[in-house]
């Protein structure tokens, strides 16, 4: 039962309406390990722990099959800076 990068992207897109989203498959193709960078209005006024909880909550179903999830960035749209 594999989870794809596209599954993760579409779930996060519909749950958190991100202004920026990058999902990187770090599994080498088996679909069980991801890195996430996300910017969303819904993070406004929330501490990092609460922001991560929102991401984990949105992915609750997929988490059962994901071995590793690394949330590298969870910022508001105004905090988002594209990499130099």
């Amino acid at each position: 039962m594999g989870v794809t990068k596209e599954d993760v992207e579409s779930t996060l897109t519909s749950a958190l309406k991100p202004s920026h989203l990058e999902v990187i498959d770090t599994s080498g193709g088996c679909g069980a390990s991801f890195e996430i960078e996300i910017a969303s209005e819904q993070f406004e006024g929330k501490r990092l722990l609460e922001r991560h909880r929102l991401v984990n909550g949105a992915l609750a179903e997929q988490m059962k099959h994901i071995h590793a999830l690394s949330i590298k960035k969870a910022v508001t749209p105004s905090q988002w800076k594209p990499p130099q």
Partner: protein, 114 residues
């Protein structure tokens, strides 16, 4: 009627209440502080060691009940899980971020001196 299975019994909840308060810094991880069995757990151990704080670790790989119960107790789906002063602080990414910003050190200094 619908019955939901829960790994977190009332007994386990009260045990965990005691465990997370037993030391200022408690880390639930894969492996032990001397032999971490996952890169994420290893990262948090390295951070705590570099900050020179005493911490207690529990190996969730040795106890499946503990592992499942903790996910509900912390409302956090993955390991490692770091507790400071009896409160859930976060997983690996949050700990790394707080370490880089200096917030972790600040919080630990306060916690160790209280």
């Amino acid at each position: 009627s619908i019955r939901c299975f829960s790994a977190l019994s009332p007994e386990m909840r009260s045990t965990l209440d005691k465990v997370v308060k037993s030391h200022t810094v408690v880390l639930f991880m894969k492996g032990t502080k001397d032999f971490p069995q996952c890169g994420f757990s290893s990262t948090v151990v390295q951070i705590l060691k570099s900050l020179n704080v005493p911490f207690e670790t529990l190996n969730i790989l040795e106890n499946e009940m503990l592992r499942q119960g903790l996910k509900e107790y912390s409302n956090w789906p993955t390991f490692p899980q770091l507790y400071i002063d009896g409160e859930f602080f976060g997983g690996c990414d949050i700990t790394v971020e707080a370490y880089k910003s200096g917030q972790l050190q600040e919080l630990l200094e306060k916690a160790m001196c209280s």
